[in-house]
Structure formats: structure tokens, C-alpha cells
């Protein structure tokens, strides 16, 4: 394996993260993103690949991984969907949930979520 090619492709798609947080009750809610507002998304500056979701609910770390492509301009959000007895926390693009999600997250907790993705340089 050639290091120059490998170096290039790693540099081409650096790992990025965005943090989301919020205190939940029992109703579905978007977590607040950087800047402190909750909503249906931050526009992505480049094409990329969503690769992971990490979640801390105050007592347990949970995570999911996948490879989900997105396009420049797609809006990224984290949504807590009430499932009755708990939440499923989902990464969303443009208000639509993706397969990147964590089930069984307790109600009435303070959640810290980190979304991992790569942005493609070209």
C-alpha cells in the first residue's frame, strides 16, 4: 500500500464531529446543536459520509456506526423520538431520520450526543 495515496485519501476525508445536547422529558424533541438552538438541522458544507453517533445519557455511553452518504447542503440534526417508555435517538438529514440511531434511551435525562462524519475535500 502506498503511503502517499493513503495519506491523500485520509486527508481528503477528515473525520469531523458535531456535538448536540439537551434535557429531555417524555416528548419527542430535537437536541440543541452548536449555538444552543434546537431545530431540524445544520447545513453541511460539503458532500460527506455519516459514520457514527455517540450518546451519553448521564450513566451509560451508547453508540451506533454506519456509512450513510450525504450531500453538501443537507441539514444535520439529532432527534429524540418518544417510543412510549423511552427514546430512540436518531440522526436526521433534512428532517428525515436515517438508520443511524440508538434505541432504549431513558426519558427525563440530560443527553450529550456526538455525531461523527467525514467531509470530502473534492
Amino acid at each position: 500500500m502506498n503511503l502517499s495515496t493513503l495519506s491523500y485519501i485520509f486527508a481528503r476525508s477528515p473525520i469531523s464531529t458535531m456535538g448536540f445536547s439537551g434535557t429531555t422529558a417524555t416528548t419527542s424533541v430535537h437536541l440543541k446543536g452548536p449555538g444552543g438552538e434546537a431545530g431540524d438541522g445544520f447545513p453541511m458544507p460539503r458532500d460527506g459520509v455519516l459514520t457514527g453517533l455517540q450518546l451519553w445519557d448521564g450513566s451509560a455511553r451508547r453508540f451506533d456506526t454506519d456509512e450513510i452518504s450525504f450531500a453538501a447542503g443537507d441539514r444535520l440534526a439529532v432527534y429524540c423520538q418518544n417510543m412510549g417508555s423511552n427514546f430512540t435517538v436518531k440522526v436526521r438529514f433534512n428532517g428525515v431520520s436515517t438508520a443511524m440511531q440508538i434505541e432504549g434511551v431513558p426519558h427525563n435525562s440530560t443527553l450529550f450526543a456526538v455525531v461523527e462524519f467525514s467531509l470530502l475535500r473534492s
Binding site: T5, L6, I9, S69
Partner: protein, 277 residues
């Protein structure tokens, strides 16, 4: 008439391919329109590729589906060796290793799975690679095949002073018709002197032809060994001379073995001695 002929020897030389030598990635710098001497002369016409790496970043291609161990062509040939990386996706969470998981034909620009590697059959992958840009003969450069020289064409697309890579094939030695005919005569003489009763220089047994042909090839291989040691200073001259000498010994031994039934046993053990007595 000799046991073997010029045309038989030439046929052996061409079909065996043992005289062909492929040189790859030889680095030259072309200044002005000065001729640059390559390590070899007697190059095979149109066998050359004059190239450089014109890309700053690798080409990305895919998805490319790999089926079985079949070769799959990429969009470009003349890939830079050891620059090919395959990944499952742009996420780069799964990367595949050349030779372990896949193989590359850099000249043709092809890849294929290794059966025992990590790439699943029918798996689409993305390929990243650096590739060469090829320059045009006569438009960008002039190659003198006989002399083994290369020069830049003024007004072509090769910048003055550029460092380039050159591939070519060469006849690994200068085998002239004259040399072959001389070898045929010498071998004929050596065999005839050692022939058993009942055989002569005009005998037409196939074994005589085969044995004589091998001995002529031995003579030519010895000439190649000598030429290797005498030619331009290249780092592997001595090693290649040794290889030619090994080939000489192999041809010689095989030739005399085939000729044994036709030879006088008293002469058989020292045919060289008889020849030079």
C-alpha cells in the same frame, strides 16, 4: 549442409523470449534537445513509454465490482506502481491492501481480487491511484532505437529539464546473423569431429538438429555474457552476465546429452579437447 540453420536458430530466439528484456521506470532528465543515453541499445521499436506523474492527487474511481478473481479494467492504464489503494467507501473505514487483498496490473490498469484476501466476491470498491501521463513519440520526444538514446522535441509538451520515467524493451544482446552463422559453423565442426561411425555432416537425424541448435544457442548465450560485461556500466551487468553463463551451461549440457547417441564415446567425453587439439 549444417545440422541446424539460421532460420531455426532465429525461430528459437524469438519464440523463447529469453533475449527480451523489459526495463521500467528508468529516470532520465531531458535538457534542451540533448540526447540522453539509456542503459541499453538495440531497443525494440514502439516498446517505449515516456511518462511522468502529472497529478498532484490520486485519481478516484468507483464503485468497481470485483467478481471472482477476474481482472477488471480501470479507466486508465500506466498506473504508478504501489500507489493503488482500494476502499469500501469514502468513509475509509475499510481499506484493502495490494497483494494481500487485491492485485494490480499497472501497465494495463487492471485490478482483481485475491481469493484468500478480505474483499468479498462481487464487492463494489473504490480505487484510488496515481497514474502516469504518457508523451507522444515524434511529437514530444525522439527515440533512437538502435543507439538507445532519447531526446526532447523542441516545441513538444515535455518541459525543458523535465525528469521523466522511461520504459522500453530491448534485445538483451546484439545477436547478428553473422554471429549466428559463425556459431553454426563452429558447432557443426565440433559435432562432426565427434560423430560416431555411420554418421556424417550430411546426416539428417532430428536429434542432430536439436543438439546442434542447443549448442548454437549456448554459443550465443556465451556471447551475451561477454557482451554484458563489456557494455555500458549498469549496476546489474555482472549479475546478468552470470545468468547468461548459466544459460550457456544449460544449453551446452542439454545439447551434448541429446547428441550422445550420435557420438563416438571416446570423443564424447572431451569434444572441446578434440576441437581445439
Amino acid at each position: 549442409m549444417a545440422f541446424t540453420t539460421l532460420s531455426i536458430i532465429k525461430k528459437h530466439l524469438l519464440s523463447s523470449g529469453f533475449l527480451r528484456l523489459r526495463v521500467e521506470e528508468h529516470v532520465v532528465q531531458l535538457n534542451g534537445t540533448d540526447e540522453v543515453e539509456l542503459p541499453h541499445h538495440g531497443l525494440i521499436e514502439k516498446s517505449e513509454a515516456v511518462k511522468w506523474i502529472a497529478e498532484l492527487k490520486p485519481t478516484r474511481e468507483g464503485p468497481v465490482q470485483l467478481t471472482g478473481t477476474d481482472w477488471v479494467s480501470l479507466n486508465y492504464g500506466y498506473l504508478v506502481p504501489n500507489t493503488v489503494v482500494l476502499s469500501l467507501s469514502d468513509a475509509l473505514t475499510t481499506l484493502y491492501t495490494e497483494e494481500v487483498d487485491f492485485q494490480t496490473d499497472v501497465t494495463e490498469g487492471r485490478i482483481r481480487r485475491v481469493e484468500t484476501g478480505e474483499i468479498p466476491d462481487l464487492q463494489p470498491v473504490f480505487a484510488f491511484y496515481l497514474r502516469y501521463r504518457l508523451f507522444e513519440s515524434d511529437t514530444d520526444f525522439i527515440m533512437d532505437y538502435t543507439a538507445g538514446t532519447l531526446r526532447r522535441v523542441s516545441g513538444g509538451t515535455i518541459p525543458d529539464g523535465a525528469h521523466l520515467f522511461v520504459d522500453y524493451e530491448t534485445i538483451a544482446g546484439s545477436v547478428t546473423d553473422e554471429l549466428i552463422l559463425q556459431a553454426i559453423d563452429d558447432v557443426q565442426d565440433r559435432i562432426v569431429r565427434a560423430l560416431a561411425q555411420g554418421y556424417s555432416g550430411s546426416s539428417s537425424d532430428h536429434g542432430l538438429q536439436t543438439g546442434a541448435t542447443l549448442l548454437v544457442l549456448a554459443v550465443l548465450a556465451r556471447a551475451m555474457a561477454t557482451e554484458q560485461l563489456a557494455r555500458r556500466l549498469i549496476t546489474d551487468s555482472a549479475e546478468r552476465a552470470r545468468e547468461w553463463q548459466k544459460l550457456t551451461d544449460a544449453f551446452e549440457a542439454q545439447g551434448w546429452r541429446i547428441l550422445r547417441p550420435f557420438l563416438d564415446p571416446y570423443q564424447l567425453h572431451s569434444p572441446e579437447k578434440v576441437t581445439h587439439a
